[in-house]
């Protein structure tokens, strides 16, 4: 079981990460990749600033990864979360899941995203096109509801 967890400022490449995840295996039938992108919120945003809690972020992502492995028959998973200043159209987060069949890969990826959103210690702040630093993004009740589906 290949598990990759990274927190980084650098960009990532879905094709390269998929190749890394599936390297040397011919029993993987399905790979699901979720990429979360920075939106410009109708042109208002110049960037999102992502703060995280080093140490705990890795620990929490590992815990979430372990839980996904216990729930679905996965052959590998990758979670990469960027931090720092992220411009509109840039990627923020990547979740990759590999399994023999597609439903396990889909559901595990959706689970990982729901839990990342509500459990991983990252916070977003808006930087606006007019040069000002905007508000911290508020957590959405709908995300807690989404994570609650898996309990």
């Amino acid at each position: 079981m290949a598990v990759t967890i990274r927190i980084q400022t650098e960009h990532f490449d879905v094709t390269a990460e998929t190749a890394r995840l599936t390297a040397g295996r011919a029993d993987i039938g399905a790979v699901v990749a979720f990429t979360g992108l920075c939106r410009d919120e109708g042109g208002r945003l110049s960037a999102l600033e992502l703060e995280h809690y080093p140490g705990m972020a890795e620990a929490e992502m590992s815990r979430i990864a372990t839980e996904a492995q216990e729930r679905w028959p996965l052959m590998g998973l990758t979670i990469i979360h960027r931090f720092g200043m992220i411009a509109p159209r840039e990627e923020i987060v990547l979740v990759l899941t590999a399994s023999t069949h597609r439903h396990a890969a889909f559901h595990a990826a959706e689970f990982l995203m729901d839990y990342l959103k509500t459990q991983a210690p990252f916070w977003k702040r808006e930087h606006l096109k007019d040069g000002t630093v905007g508000e911290w993004v508020q957590a959405k009740g709908v995300d807690d509801l989404a994570a609650g589906r898996w309990v």
Binding site: M56, V93, K117
Partner: protein
């Protein structure tokens, strides 16, 4: 014990982290918050709505009733908005 703060909790408290000596009256996260609020306006502001600020002890999410007696690092932060 080390305290660390993130996002708007960090901004309101005005520091990223600090080392504190806890009085014996503090044994839970809720006690710690109450004690911190007595230390100044910045803490009162940061914790003005206790239901919102989250806590972690040594990198694990905890509830207000969790004991801080064995903790090395206690973190306070807003609800997470990553992903």
């Amino acid at each position: 014990m080390k305290l660390v703060y993130f996002a708007w909790v960090r901004e309101r408290v005005g520091k990223t982290d600090e080392d504190v000596e806890l009085p014996t009256s503090v044994s839970t996260v809720a006690d710690l918050v109450r004690w911190l609020k007595g230390r100044g306006e910045e803490y009162e502001y940061a914790f003005e709505n206790e239901g919102i600020v989250r806590a972690a002890i040594d990198h694990v999410h905890v509830k207000p009733e969790a004991s801080v007696l064995q903790a090395r690092e206690v973190a306070f932060f807003p609800p997470m908005t990553g992903g």
